[in-house]
Symmetry: D3
Subunit: 145 residues, 6 copies
């Protein structure tokens, strides 16, 4: 079994590159199902909701299907572990995030029977609730769907 | 204070893009101090050591300076939190990693007094200790130095 | 020293079986001090409070005794670790729980000098704050009292 | 969508009840795919391997399919979070486990489109590496497969 | 390189000893930059804010400098890990803290090039939100600044 | 109920002060049951074993009593959470500790019915496995016994 289409890498690039930089990757991205979004909050629940809502509105996952919601939820939580590095809290730990995110769905493996997987990537800033007192952060979660 | 030079984003790109893809970012990278490396292991200690050794050998941090070693160590650990998503163990949790990493040192902020910061990024695969039974993973840590 | 009376197993059964299924275990349960309860919430504090209140109202622990409150609190928290698997948050992580719980107090060990211990077990569902988008979960904590 | 077949509850019962006690649940169990096993170790990697090997040998998951291995691995890790309550280490934290486990695969939801899910349950003892200095522990993980 | 001035130990003593007991350490303390404070809350954000505000008001760190705010923030969070032992939540876990704290800034190492470091120590009680149902707790974080 | 005898504070002082500094606290210490020890290791299991062995050899806890071993074990683990701040690993995270520790047993509360409690405190250094590349650390755990 070989990892053929790096949906995680594409998710990271979609979350961190600007439009001009993404041009280079457009051909590869056209073969994937994905969406992008933004969220700024001290409230983790809003970050999770922003990613889920974007994925549902853009048809990346089926709205009333728990199976797909469950797959995305765990991918999102794993991405948030990278963003928060250690404790998945923001407001309670007196910090805020400003994030861009991307959800990518596709078949990463050569072997057809491995089926579809989903990647959730975040890139942006985390820091004190004061403009500018912040540094970059990223996170990526991947799950079978 | 404004975040002007995204050393974290450059570290992620250095860890995840191939040579051809990196061409686009060469001009920006030339103004930074950085190194790249690879490590594959079931042993977390080896992953940490690979990053520290590469940073010291390439002069990104000063060898006998605890201050700089301490700054890099915490950046590396935060990157590993993203890689391992939840529990910073690999072998003990019956999984293995194959990672490329990059360490970038620079002045991300417009305001000169914010000084130098260091970014440690990882990108690669994590999975069962069987070739191919793995998916992508990434992590980024940032610290003042 | 031998584990003779599995108060943890009885707590799990009290939390997860229905009345008819519990019939089989009634003789053993009659020799133990226990209570049962239910709680549904996105708020962890309410889950902890429900277990503590039930234990105090049913005389499983002494109301004004910190020693016993402390023993139960840590048993409850350990049970919640199993319920939440990784991060003891619910609402902040955009999820909700619907739980049945049981607190059992007894002497699990043959050797009289090992004294009394307390078990707190939870069983129910955890999931998105949308009815039906949830799966089962359980947790057990045990402490000397 | 309704939770109709509690595969998690059956997994807990398979891991914690003895043969005689399980009689009551035999009719329901006959409609599920499951296996049982035992493992005693100070080494977490052996606990994970025991569960994976049992599931593969008994045909609960397909051997060379990463998708199914990934689903089981995360269910097992979530079960271990309940067993270890806080830090998924055993030997390093100077403790040992003696566990019975069960892996159950089935369709828990009424709605056919929710497909198959997998439950991994553990029940046994955790304690000092001295016979008898131990108490009960349990854990349950559930994942879509 | 030798650890010459234990700023962490002085921070612990400043947080835990009373005025009379501190007399013994006055000569050593006079060579350090430090402040002391108190905070009681079920809200972690208030604990972090109390420490940061005290440090800024007393000139231990520069107000508008992210570099110094970042150094202190991580020292404070590490101190809180000791206070909360496992999960940095208070109110959500149905507990409250009453803490004295001290922030110490100085040069702990003989070698001048190791520069300044900051220590944040907490000492007080943690427990149920009922007066008296609590026990002692402490925590110390140290960072380069 | 009032906290009358701060066994946690005495444990911290016993672990961090030198003989001369401890003189001041000798009268209070004479009414408590305590022991002191030292341990340096990259292996967490050795740190836990050192504390348990010292407590048993000095008669602070009863050797063959699981109840007391369990109480001390959790106090020690909570102390280690403070020492390691986030992840209770040392060698696996490429770091080493050099610690002094103290175990104190006594009746902290005015109300006789609150009985005996145990405190485990650690103070020393944590850092890279290179002499001098380390900073101070501390931790305190408290439990009813």
């Amino acid at each position: 079994m070989t990892l053929q289409t790096p949906i995680g890498k594409y998710a990271i690039l979609l979350a961190s590159l600007d439009e001009a930089e993404l041009e280079l990757f457009k051909p590869a991205l056209q073969e994937l199902s994905y969406c992008q979004g933004r969220v700024g909050s001290m409230n983790m629940q809003k970050v999770i909701a922003a990613a889920e809502t974007a994925a549902k509105r853009n048809g990346i996952i089926k709205d009333q299907c728990y199976r797909e919601t469950h797959a995305l939820y765990h991918a999102v939580l794993e991405g948030i572990e990278g963003v928060t590095r250690g404790q998945p809290s923001i407001g309670e730990m007196s910090r805020t995030v400003g994030l861009r995110f991307a959800i990518v769905r596709g078949k990463p493996y050569e072997d057809e029977s491995e089926g579809e997987w989903i990647a959730a990537a975040f890139y942006g800033t985390i820091g004190a609730p004061v403009k500018g007192l912040e540094h970059e952060t990223t996170g990526l979660g991947i799950n079978h769907i």
